[in-house]
Symmetry: D2
Subunit: 338 residues, 4 copies
């Protein structure tokens, strides 16, 4: 951490910073410039300290963080790639792992048809929401426990692992009985009660990026899971909120190489929620793989026109089958396979 | 809702939209333009329908929403201002209600000193966090139940109502025993499990705006509380995330008159979290009152240099006392009082 | 255009809207809903009318635009893809066109070495800045006319067309003498004096997206060029400004399929300015091609460590050669070639 | 400037940074931490150096800027407030200076009526656009020279100084003949050719903030004017682009105290362009004054319903007169007058 003093800071003010650092067990080094003095704070855990501790002291102009705020999720902490293994499927390996299915589980027929399409298209994990966090209280909220039971039935029938969202810390053990991967939705990325409960569960977790959270905040949220001893963490980029209105969100494709440099965790991409429109999904899915993502989370619905939730961004089974063929070519072009 | 068909949409495609509308109990009216056909959907609840239902149909170019997505929070639903009454203090009246105190309850001495400053300065509600949602798992997480007990002691000793945050749906009844107003933090504005629990509790709720949520999403979140029968809802603008790095967030001062036109709910402003720096708080607090806010939520700490959380944005007791004097003048200039 | 009246709008207010529409030569159609009246305005040029004209009338709640604000750049206006031909290179065809070179022309040796690398790597257009718009007046501002002469020399020596930026309407004819494509930088996308001059010149133009402009504003800026009769327009996505600090800008990869659906103009991508860091460029370049871009604009410098401008985002010749090999595979996987 | 080396940077890599610094005339100081080495670069002009120069060197992890990029506009460079004097009106003094008038000059009758309203309401500078930068080429582009002549007539008749926009470097001397203050619009804040020409003119300049530019970029743009010797610079905050759709832009009210701390230049606020709707203008105008702005730029039109440009955000003469009365009270409450 670097503390920049004001132009005319007094020796007492500079000493105040040094003493505060000592009281926290940090070393210090002074740079006396022509215009101002800069104090460097040295220690292995300055990334976890708040800059406010120093910014509030008299005579301080600014405090800049050098160490990153996240620790356990960083590649500096663990240089080699992490791989999360789910029923023999390795997420973070050379294989591109495609997870697909409907946004919400609606009924048995819909889910089984979707699972058929997903399996035939070559996806290896089935997605489907039983608990749905909806913007309006007047919208369909999901089948809840009945939805979980339908997912479990599809899992058995199609011999395919299942990923589904959990929205409340107190549902973690329930949902763990039915699902192979527990998804944290974008709006819950900083629901720390939920993260702590998931960290304790040791179940694989898919951590979606908050749609207005920085990469650093996202990896710090992953630290909540890792700090509780759960290292089965998969990151999922799903678009950020920007000023551009032509898509629902803007997929932050740059975050893919940034994460690959900064973190050891596997990373997948959800093109459906970013785009908000089925016609845009194929281009974004291909871009994600070309940029180095380890997998995709794609919405597929047997009949999008009748979907209760997010029909516009769902692919039909035939569109999905066509996309999978195209994705195999792109995966191969970057040395991977589906 | 307005459905715009593509340039060469067929009569069958147009009819598909009309039939879908009928199946949902909506009326329709066709506008056959020179270039394209537009279908207007008529009905009193189209604001609660997803645009996707129509956007996904063949031949549709775009769907625009005319009705707002929120209902119970809207001024169209209830034209006169709502007033939330807490121990005789009326939030949403001519009085500007100032809530002040430390970000986190740290210990008895700190809280009592803060309460003294808050009371002497003329604030009428004490704030203080017992459950702290923190970005990093390695940061101080709050005193939890012990913090609530300290707040209750301060409430009694200083005869001042208390507002504190609740972060988990399952803590609502516990926190309700100690606090007069339950605060929903920015990161939980779309934690619908929490909103539903608070809606059922009937306790006054302070609903902070999600730092990346639109005004419409914020009022739709208020609908969750109102739909469960809790009409003791206070909105709190606290800054939105933008590209500007010189402040922690950018206070959306325009949202104040927008909310006053669109909603009947009382609205207060938190200048401390928006600015992130104590030196900026007075200017923003004055702006909020001049723009029509019904109150303020301000961080005050007896010794910001030693604060465990957010020291940089906390006012000292003497700074707070000076600000309150200035705020009284601004309040008077817009026909209100503190 | 759709005019939504307020809940209790009077017949006189509704009639005011109708009369205003008639005075502008528009047809109208009324939708009398249960709650409110909606007036649809019909005519072929409503996309070019300001919504304010109606929003300001008494009794009006809101005005929504159905027609897009851009016209000549739209695919509705011209359904088939436009191809811009520069010295036999077809931009917007099956070939992915790579333009590469240094951010700024610094001296003859630097430019010739860069041109060698660009040519050997397989790029077919040389880029290089002679006029540099710099954020600070104390930064290097470019070699100006001397830079143009160096570019012309490289063009001749390496038999490669040249693209360079023009920053002032009065320089258009000068720069046209030396360059094959005139680039409009991100900060000038809405410099309408410059756009009008370029529109008149009939020279091929590379129109970079303003880093905070929407896709609709970008295509409307293209309309300035097209309206003057210059249809040699190439769009260039180069990243938008968001809250994410880990990259210089966030590449809006979703804009690629959006543009391909909305416009007939060819579109290339600049991964260098979006990323701001050479190590991120390859991933983003591959993503752009996989998503359907028609080309790339990449910064290459013979010695990035000594670059006067933007060294951090420049590739070395060997990195560029390696990337070109990888890009050929990705291009092939989506049915194209470099 | 602070250069953070990678965890395992070699002594050669660290020495490379030191040598580069020396070659630029900078001093260095090394901080050898437990995990990594940090090199502080010392010198009085590091704020004007690009961080890329060091970020590109081998072994470097990150480069952080301590010094601000702007210099002449900073309060460190000139601690006391600057006051810009226009025909005896002092902008940046205790007086709140209100500039008002129509967005565009349309004809003589409109301008004279507007000037009457502006003068009677108590504004002391008349605004009006002759050159209009419009998003679409099909919109009204302003009366140009004829508009300037009408402004000059109003200036004489009402004995009131005039502010108007200049959009092209080559128009500076023409517009200077007619106007007392030359306005740089938001889209031209980084039109460096225009800034340089205005810097040379020595005429007072009103520099609007680019709607997506940071405060630091804005003050760096002011440096372009100041560096050419023109210190008659007035800043104008007019709202930034964010994700919020309910207003045209989001007024960054926090920038007011930030600028007052960082810069000596006077600062006014344009509530009309931020809000985009006349009904929101009064609240935002009051907030701006309460937050410490030195003046306002407000759109007033004798008949907004017939305005050719931006009618929705224009006040009528009677609304303007009422607002001015309210603003006087707010100004007084913060120790100023109108």
């Amino acid at each position: 951490m670097i503390v920049e003093m004001r132009k005319n800071a007094t020796p007492e003010e500079i000493n105040g910073v040094v003493q505060k650092a000592k009281s926290l067990g940090l070393g210090t080094q002074l740079n006396v410039g022509t215009d101002k003095t800069v104090v460097a704070l040295l220690g292995s855990n300055t990334g976890q300290l708040s800059t406010d501790i120093f910014a509030v002291l008299p005579g301080v102009e600014n405090v800049a963080r050098i160490m990153k705020p996240y620790k356990l999720a960083s590649r500096e902490f663990k240089p080699q790639d992490s791989v999360v293994s789910v029923s023999g499927i390795e997420i973070g390996s050379k294989q591109i792992v495609v997870m697909a299915g409907p946004c919400a589980v609606e009924n048995e027929e819909q889910l089984m048809k979707a699972a058929t399409a997903v399996k035939e298209g070559g996806a290896c994990i089935l997605r489907g929401g039983a608990f749905k966090p909806r913007t309006s209280p007047f919208s369909f909220q999901g089948l809840e426990k009945a939805g979980l039971e339908l997912l479990a039935r599809a899992r058995e029938q199609f011999n395919i692992p299942v990923v589904t969202e959990v929205v409340d810390a107190h549902d973690v053990s329930l949902v763990s009985k039915y699902a192979d991967i527990l998804q944290v939705g974008s709006r819950n990325m900083q629901n720390f009660a939920l993260l702590t409960a998931l960290g304790k569960s040791k179940h694989p977790v898919l951590l979606k990026r908050g749609f207005s959270c920085t990469v650093a905040e996202w990896l710090t949220a992953a630290d909540y899971l890792l700090a509780e001893g759960n290292n089965q963490v998969i990151l999922c980029e799903r678009g950020i909120r920007t000023f551009e209105p032509s898509t629902r969100f803007s997929l932050d494709v740059c975050s893919i190489p940034v994460i690959k440099r900064s973190s050891h965790l596997p990373l997948i991409v959800d093109p459906s929620h970013a785009a908000g429109h089925y016609a845009l999904v194929p281009a974004i899915a291909k871009a994600a793989i070309a940029a180095g993502a380890d997998g995709l989370l794609i919405e597929v619905h047997p009949n999008p026109k009748e979907a209760l939730v997010d029909g516009l961004q769902s692919l039909t089974p035939s569109d999905f089958a066509r996309l999978m063929k195209e994705l195999r070519l792109v995966a191969k072009s970057v040395g991977r396979y589906i």
